[in-house]
Symmetry: C5
Subunit: 138 residues, 5 copies
């Protein structure tokens, strides 16, 4: 133990990858990003689907919501949906999970929704509002 | 599959566009920003309405509220208002949707307001406060 | 319609002005900042009251709370207090509105406080705690 | 009135001081930071207690929680604890107020705690959980 | 007392260490990071476990959730779990405490969970939802 950090040997799969998602900068690794090969997220980072590179800032760029991507990345790391107990953006997160084609996450979010609906039904009060689902021209 | 990202061919409509909205930096694309041509947001980015460029930082600049612009951009991407179930800034977001002249979003927000008012009426408690609507000199 | 943004002619009143408020960076314009000439905020930006310039970062600097300044700026833009329905920092925002001498905002915040007190009285439960108002040496 | 800002004469006590607190960057002034000389915060900035300088970024560095320092700074500016009505981090803020030895703030936080406990007792429901106070090895 | 800060003598254990955790930048010191030698966090910074260095940005990089790391660092500083009274991310924080092998924190979080479950049982309403624990392929 030297008492100071030992720098890990550089490897393509553990090196930091900077991603600008709608303006929020995330740092992850190809190891995490390509963990579930059938997802669009993995295809964006394993060469199957081309991805935009911001040459000026040396960031990859994805034109999606910045705040929700945190939960997408955490799912890639742990395989579990890990959101606050009082998480109030299930619909928005579902939208992103579908965009990135993370089927396991879509299923867990659907299950979380069912659990909540059952709990609300038990508690006898319908509080979660139906989000306006229709298209642009209402 | 090379196992590493393939950089997409550069195109004017998918390249990252950096926008400083009141101090919050967003990154999107002309494809998203100009999706609904009748909106002021689209006109700011398709040449119809001139927009200020921060030459020092190479960001476009819009003198509006930074936090709410997230929801404006998400609407441009999906055509749907995607806000938290307990979203408490409908009036502020409406102000921005009107500024950017996104009629479809204004309608969906009005509908969301009606749904909430009905739910509150059912629940028998008037909790959402009337925001002081009057002009500067009260 | 060229399909790409048209850069607006530079003007002193619409050019981006970067302000570091307690560490949070805001971008606005002299047009917004000097809209209500009788306020201290306007005097800081129309030459009446000198303002500190961070020459290293080319930002103006104001030694006040960063988070609340968002609402001060939004008032300058719309003339209305636009805060969340469940806004729980009225006292802190009032402190800033007084510092920046924005009388119209002080009045609207006082009115918002009265409305809330009445609603709470109706709902029969005193939840908003009196903030410790006394000076430093309690 | 020139219509454009007048840059204040530089002075050691009003010049911007950048402080990295656990990764969150704050900007204040020696005037604010040294206002209450008996506090450790003042001693860190008036020369009595040495402080670490991040020479690469030209920031002073304090190895403490970034989020809570906002309230410490606001107390230095106004002499009052100004936290949201539903502030749920009194214990964490108390920890920081004690570290920076701001006695007036410690007292006001203790008073705020007592008021809340009384209110909860009146409302007949014990909601604020005792934080695990014991040392590292539980 | 000179009235201006005295720069502390540089030491390896108090110098600022910048860490990019999933995109959120934290600054701490080897003194804090290596305080509990049996944790993986300490081993990452005392040389036992190699750590990735982002050579471009001169930050160490950890591919984990950025938001929760704040509480991990605070535990290293005080030896106590210091989270908001209404903290709704115990499961996500537990995931990180286990990853960084901070046993004392895991125990305090388990205790906090038990206290909450008891309180909820007393209050007679089961509100905290079981997080979907199963693996990726539901």
């Amino acid at each position: 133990v030297t008492g100071i950090p030992t720098v890990a040997a550089a490897s393509r799969y553990t090196a930091p990858v900077h991603i600008d998602v709608g303006g929020v900068i995330y740092t992850s690794s190809l190891e995490t990003l390509t963990r579930y090969p059938e997802t669009r997220l993995a295809k964006l980072f394993n060469g199957q689907v081309p991805i935009v590179l911001d040459t000026l800032k040396q960031h990859y760029f994805i034109d999606r919501d910045g705040k929700m991507f945190r939960h997408i990345l955490n799912f890639m790391r742990s395989g579990k949906v890990c959101v606050p107990d009082d998480f109030s953006e299930i619909d928005c997160l579902m939208e992103e999970a579908r965009f990135f084609e993370v089927q396991g996450m879509v299923k867990q979010l659907e299950q979380l929704r069912r659990q909540r609906a059952q709990r609300l039904a038990r508690a006898g009060s319908q509080t979660s509002p139906p989000v306006a689902q229709h298209g642009y021209h209402v």
